[in-house]
C-alpha cells in the first residue's frame, strides 16, 4: 500500500511531524496518518526481519506437528542421545525427540503470549481511558493502587497469582493479562491527558454525548498509535514472562513440549554434559523474543514521532 494521493514521503524519518496524541483530531486525518505509518512500517528493516522470525515460529505452531516426530512419545531406552542424523537435536531424559519438541513447542507460547497481551491491552486501555479522562478522586485512588502493584517485580507477582489460581495455560494468560494491564494503562492515561483538552472532546461534551461514547467513540480512535506500540512491546515481555513462569513450574504443565518447561526439566543434567535438551529450547525462546522485539522496534519508530 503506497498511500495514493499523499505527498510522496521525503524520507523514512521525516514523515508524520505531529505527535500521535495530536494527530488526527478528525477521523480523516487519523486515517491518513495511519496510512503513512503503514507505508513507513513496510520499509522498516527490523519490522521485516522480525516478521520473518516470528512468521517461522507461527508456521511451526500451525503445521510443525505434522512434519516432525511425536513430541510427547517417550522412549526411555533412548534417553539423552546426543544430536545425530536420526535425532537432529538429540533426545531428552525421557527419550523424546528434542527437535520435535522445539518445533511443536512454538504452539503453547504463541497461544499464551498474544492472548495475554490482548487481555492486558483491553483492560489497560479501559483503565487508562477512565483514569485519564476523569482525573480527580477516581484517578488518584486507581493510580495509587497501580503504583503499589507495580512496585512488585512482575515475575514475583505472577508467582503469587499463579499459586492462588493453580498452574494451567488459562492461569498463565490471566496472570500476564492482569499484570500488564496497569503498565499499559499508564501509557494510555498519559495520551488521554493531552487528548481530553482538545476541542473535539469539548464539542462532543457540548453535544451532550454520553461519557462512554466520548471515551470509546471519540478519544479512543485518537490514541490508537501509543496503544499499538504498547501492544507490540508488551508482546515481547509476555513471551519473556510466560517462558519464565513455565520455567518455574507455574505455567504450562508436563508433558507439553513448552520451551520454558523443557529448560526446567533438564537444567539439572547440564552438569552431566547433556547440553542439548536445554540449549535448543533456550535458543528457540531467544529467537522468538528477539523477533517480537524487532517488530516492536519497527512499529515504535513508525508510530512514535
Amino acid at each position: 500500500m503506497s498511500a495514493p494521493g499523499q505527498p510522496a514521503p521525503a524520507g523514512a524519518t521525516e514523515i508524520g511531524t505531529a505527535s500521535p496524541a495530536a494527530v488526527g483530531a478528525r477521523g480523516d486525518d487519523a486515517r491518513v496518518a495511519m496510512k503513512e505509518r503503514l507505508a513507513l512500517l513496510k520499509r522498516s528493516k527490523s519490522f521485516i526481519a522480525g516478521n520473518i522470525i516470528v512468521g517461522f515460529w507461527v508456521l511451526c505452531a500451525l503445521f510443525g506437528e505434522l512434519l516432525v516426530k511425536d513430541p510427547v512419545a517417550s522412549n526411555p531406552i533412548n534417553d539423552l542421545i546426543a544430536p545425530s542424523a536420526d535425532n537432529w537435536f538429540g533426545t531428552d531424559k525421557l527419550g523424546r525427540d528434542v527437535f520435535a519438541r522445539v518445533i511443536a513447542g512454538a504452539r503453547d507460547i504463541l497461544i499464551v503470549a498474544p492472548l495475554a497481551t490482548i487481555l492486558a491491552t483491553v483492560l489497560g486501555t479501559a483503565l487508562g481511558l477512565v483514569t485519564g479522562y476523569f482525573r480527580g478522586a477516581v484517578d488518584d485512588v486507581l493510580s495509587r493502587i497501580i503504583e503499589a502493584f507495580l512496585s512488585i517485580p512482575v515475575i514475583i507477582m505472577g508467582l503469587l497469582i499463579a499459586v492462588s489460581l493453580g498452574p494451567s495455560r488459562t492461569t498463565l494468560i490471566l496472570t500476564i493479562g492482569v499484570l500488564f494491564a496497569p503498565i499499559i494503562s499508564r501509557t494510555v492515561r498519559a495520551a488521554v491527558l493531552t487528548e481530553r483538552e482538545l476541542e473535539y472532546v469539548a464539542a462532543a461534551r457540548l453535544r451532550n454525548e454520553r461519557t462512554p461514547y466520548v471515551l470509546f467513540g471519540e478519544i479512543l480512535p485518537n490514541v490508537t498509535a501509543p496503544i499499538v506500540v504498547e501492544f507490540t512491546v508488551r508482546l515481547g515481555y509476555a513471551v519473556f514472562l510466560a517462558a519464565g513462569l513455565s520455567f518455574l513450574g507455574f505455567g504450562i504443565q508436563p508433558p507439553a513440549p513448552d520451551w520454558g518447561l523443557q529448560v526446567a526439566e533438564h537444567y539439572g543434567v547440564i552438569s552431566g554434559g547433556f547440553w542439548w535438551p536445554v540449549l535448543f529450547p533456550s535458543l528457540a525462546i531467544a529467537t522468538l523474543v528477539i523477533g517480537v522485539n524487532l517488530i516492536a522496534d519497527g512499529v515504535a519508530s513508525a508510530f512514535e514521532r
Binding site: A148, F149, S151, M157, L159, I161, L165, G166, Y267
Partner: protein, 306 residues
C-alpha cells in the same frame, strides 16, 4: 505518601495470595485430604477467620517485626533472613559489575553517536535485555561451565568459603543479570549524554577553551547521569525479580529460590511476607534515588531552598 503506597501494597499482596480461591487448607493439603484435616489445617493457619481479621493479624505482626509462622511451623523471619543476605550478595555483585560497565558503555556510545560502535552497544545491549535470564544462564553454563570448565554449574558455594571462591561461584549468575540489565542503563546513560552534549552550557564550555576532558567530566557527565540514577533504582526492583529464576537455575539459596520453593509448597505465610519485603526494598530504592537525584541536581536542590 510512601506509607500509603506501602499499605496499599500489603493489601494487594494479601488479596493476591489469599482471596482468590478461598480455601487455603484445601490448597495446601490437596484434593484428596479429608475435610476434617482441611478444617484443622485452616484452624491452625488461622485461615478460618474472616479476611479482615487475618489481614490485621498479619499486618500488625509485620509492623512489630513478627512475620508469623510458615506452614512447617518455623518463624517466617528465620526462613527469610539468611536467603535475604545471600541474595543481597548476588545482587550487589551484579550491580558492581553492571552499573559502571553500562554507564561507560552508554557514554562511549553517545560520544561516538551514529557510528558502528554506537550501534553495537545500543542495539546489542537492548537485544541482550530482551532475552530471558534463564536463557542466558543456559548459554553461559553450556559455554563457560561445561565447555571451558572455568566455573562450577551451581552458585551455592561450600560452607565457609573464602571471598574468592564465593566470587567464582557467583560470577556466572551475576553475568546473567548483567546481560539483562546492561541495555536499559546504557540506553539511559547514552540518551542523557547526547542531550547534555547538545546543550548550551556544553557549547559555552567548549567555546571558552576548556580541554575536552574537563568539558566531558565536569559539564556533560554531571548532567547526563542524573536520569540514569532513576533507572538504576527501578532496575533494582527488576533485579529482585530476575533473582528468582537465576537462583533456581543455579540452585543458590537466596530469597528468590526461597520464594519459588514457598510457592511450590503453597507456603502462603512465607510467600506473602517475602513478597512484601521485596516490595519494601523496591520502594526504599526508589526513595534513595529521589534523594540522590535532588542532592546531585543543583536545579532541584536550589529550587527547593528558595
Amino acid at each position: 505518601m510512601g506509607l500509603i503506597t506501602l499499605l496499599l501494597l500489603s493489601i494487594v499482596i494479601f488479596l493476591a495470595a489469599q482471596v482468590l480461591p478461598g480455601d487455603v487448607g484445601r490448597r495446601v493439603l490437596g484434593p484428596f485430604a479429608d475435610q476434617a484435616s482441611v478444617d484443622a489445617m485452616n484452624h491452625q493457619l488461622g485461615t478460618d477467620r474472616s479476611l479482615i481479621v487475618q489481614y490485621w493479624d498479619w499486618i500488625s505482626g509485620v509492623a512489630t517485626g513478627d512475620l508469623g509462622e510458615s506452614i512447617r511451623n518455623r518463624p517466617v523471619s528465620d526462613v527469610l533472613i539468611d536467603p535475604l543476605v545471600s541474595s543481597a550478595k548476588l545482587a550487589l555483585l551484579s550491580f558492581i559489575i553492571v552499573v559502571p560497565l553500562a554507564i561507560a558503555g552508554g557514554v562511549y556510545a553517545a560520544l561516538h553517536e551514529g557510528s558502528f560502535r554506537d550501534r553495537l552497544i545500543s542495539v546489542g545491549g537492548l537485544s541482550a535485555t530482551a532475552i530471558p535470564e534463564f536463557v542466558w544462564a543456559v548459554i553461559f553454563l553450556v559455554v563457560f561451565a561445561l565447555g571451558l570448565g572455568l566455573f562450577p554449574t551451581t552458585a551455592q558455594f561450600p560452607e565457609g568459603a573464602g571471598i574468592f571462591t564465593q566470587l567464582k561461584y557467583l560470577l556466572l549468575p551475576s553475568l546473567c543479570l548483567v546481560c539483562v540489565l546492561f541495555g536499559y542503563i546504557a540506553r539511559m546513560a547514552r540518551a542523557g549524554t547526547i542531550e547534555a552534549l547538545g546543550a548550551d552550557y556544553t557549547r559555552t564550555a567548549v567555546l571558552k577553551g576548556l580541554p575536552q576532558r574537563t568539558v566531558i567530566l565536569r559539564h556533560v557527565l554531571r548532567n547526563s547521569l542524573l536520569p540514569t540514577i532513576a533507572v538504576v533504582a527501578t532496575q533494582a526492583g527488576y533485579l529482585l525479580g530476575g533473582l528468582v529464576i537465576i537462583e533456581v537455575i543455579f540452585n543458590y539459596n537466596g530469597i528468590g529460590l526461597t520464594l519459588a520453593r514457598a510457592a511450590t509448597a503453597k507456603d502462603i505465610p512465607v510467600l506473602q511476607s517475602g513478597v512484601l519485603i521485596i516490595g519494601i526494598v523496591f520502594l526504599v530504592a526508589t526513595l534513595i534515588a529521589d534523594i540522590l537525584y535532588s542532592v546531585l541536581n543543583p536545579r532541584v536542590r536550589l529550587g527547593a531552598a528558595e
